[in-house]
Amino acid sequence: MSIAFLALGTSRARAVCASARFLVERGVQVDLVTTAERPWRDEGLDERVRVLTISTRADRILLLNKALGRFYKLVRPYLMWRAARRQALRKVDWTAVEQAVVGDSHAIPIGWHLARRHPTLPVSFELDRTPYLDRTPHLDRVPADRE
């Protein structure tokens, strides 16, 4: 079983990092779908969290061009969803995901697409910690595949 966080930027990094740490300390697998890994590690995201990055080539080219960028911004949310689906979301076994947590405003459209694709997937804006409260935290535990 796992938990998936969706957060394109780090504006709410404190909340996401704290929830992710709470889970990995209790042996829960955590995935974070975002646009870049480095800023999250700088914010203190636990090393045990798997980061799945999404990007579009258009981001690298068109956002730098003022004229084309204005048009591109109109279609960017849709392209980001396509990129997320192709690059990141397919790597997640959604049948094993207990909660999908939308972690920032920019990720809300992806959360909505995801909810439509997986009608029984629990979606929230904040981790529901209740199911994990009775698990003893292992503060120094590192998963076997990372040792």
Binding site: R14, S19, L74, S124
Partner: protein, 438 residues
């Protein structure tokens, strides 16, 4: 856990709903602790207290992208097919809190933000209204606006204004129009400082009778005293952001002057900011680089430990609506040297020369230096009385005292300071108060 003003038998005020944009959350664990303290101070007086926090989630600035975020958000949380359900959690203080993410754009249009908060809260209220006898909104825009929009027709509406950015809100015509509606609906309008009360009274003179001052409740009882009394004023500390508005450059200049006379003086600047680098360089140029420590901000529960390692809190701010740090320092038994920048002359009224020294706001570093010299003299002859100062502040801002007065406002019986008729009903106010109904 905050002390509560009353527990048990006095649950006579029915149900209370509190709406606020600021309250401690997983992302902002230190935000709005004063809302938590004020709510905790009255929790025992109500059958049930529900707090709704609409928290800004800043998203894209582009209008089309922002519209997509809003549409997706509405689809996730709204209607019978909603996929996200807001859940209330029981806080340690004994009230129920619901955190409601509120997508907003980074554009500073308070009326638009108020509309976003209204939309988000609507989705979180099953009946479309607050099921409460009293609705308390914190900050005119947004909490006050939400109280106005979602209070039942018979509910008593109380609004507290805390915002240091009130001038900007009133400076935007659309926001000011919303604010006027809030004013019309509110039965009592509370300001946490007299400066804010004057600002609102000037903007809405017709409502002056219901605008009054009621400070935030502070959990002073749980603020630890310094283990040893201060004997010398050698270790200065400033707590807050390193910004020009806080007067940190003037503080540094003053310290450098005072340090020439007293080689044992040290200064800690606790909290970074845009001027940190510049201040470090300036300290070096002034020859006090080795005597000024720049430290990152610490969580509130660790602030007192740091205060206890120092002898004097110095705040040279240009403007403050309240000045929480000053109150915390006095509660901790630390003398304070602060400017008359608004809030501090209210919080320390009658305590100049007892809790510390108040000095004029100004760019001249000698102002603070002279204040410091006077403080040294006061301490030397035993004139400072930190224990008495703490007692005065407890009577003024302690949870029990403020809770008592807040409960009186909720019940329509006054309790605040400065209005001709605190809690007087607005022209369109309900005919009965919560107390009368219960």
């Amino acid at each position: 856990m905050a002390e509560t003003a009353a527990t048990g038998p006095e649950r006579t005020l029915g149900r209370l709903a509190v709406t606020t944009p600021w309250h401690p959350s997983s992302q902002r664990p230190f935000a709005g602790s004063f809302v938590r303290a004020s709510t905790a101070a009255v929790v025992g007086r109500f059958e049930r207290v529900d707090l709704y926090q609409t928290e800004d989630w800043t998203g894209p600035a582009h209008p089309r992208q922002a519209a997509l975020v809003r549409k997706a958000y509405d689809a996730l949380v709204g209607g019978a097919t909603a996929r996200v359900r807001h859940r209330a959690r029981l806080t340690d203080e004994g009230y129920w809190a619901t955190d409601i993410p509120t997508p907003v754009t980074p554009r500073r249009q308070y009326a638009d933000w108020a509309a976003s908060h209204e939309n988000a809260l609507r989705n979180a209220l099953p009946s479309g209204r607050f099921d409460a006898d009293v609705v308390h909104g914190h900050v005119g825009i947004y909490g006050g606006w939400l109280a106005h929009r979602f209070a039942g027709p018979g509910a008593r509406v109380v609004v507290t204004e805390h915002a240091s950015f009130l001038g900007r809100i009133l400076g935007q015509p659309r926001s000011r129009a919303l604010y006027a509606e809030v004013m019309d609906r509110a039965d009592a309008f509370l300001c946490v400082s007299d400066g804010l009360r004057r600002q609102l009274t000037e903007a809405f003179p017709a409502h002056a009778a219901k605008i009054s001052v009621l400070p935030n409740a502070l959990d002073i009882a749980s603020m630890p005293r310094r283990p040893e009394p201060v004997r010398e004023l050698l270790r200065w500390i400033y707590v807050g952001k390193a910004t020009a508005a806080k007067g940190v450059p003037e503080l540094l200049e003053s310290f450098a002057i005072a340090a020439r006379e007293e080689p044992r003086l040290r200064l800690t600047i606790l909290g970074d900011g845009p001027l940190t680098g510049e201040l470090r360089a300036r300290a070096e140029r002034l020859g006090v680089g080795g005597r000024v420590a720049f430290r990152d901000a610490v969580p509130p529960e660790r602030v007192f430990g740091v205060l206890h390692e120092h002898d004097l809190l110095v705040h040279a701010s240009k403007s403050e609506t309240f000045g929480m740090t000053v109150v915390e320092a006095v509660a901790a038994g630390l003398p304070v040297l602060v400017t008359r920048c608004g809030g501090p002359q209210e919080t320390l009224a009658g305590l100049d020369g007892v809790a510390g020294r108040l000095v004029e706001v100004g760019d001249d570093p000698k102002i603070l230096v002279e204040g410091y010299q006077e403080l040294v003299e006061l301490l030397g002859r035993g004139a400072l009385d930190p224990e008495h100062a703490r007692e005065v502040l407890t009577g003024r801002y302690g949870a029990a005292a403020v809770g008592e007065r807040l409960a009186a406002v909720y019940a329509g019986a006054g309790g605040a300071i400065g209005a001709e008729a605190p809690g007087a009903a607005a022209p369109d106010a309900p005919a009965t108060t919560a107390k009368e109904r219960v």
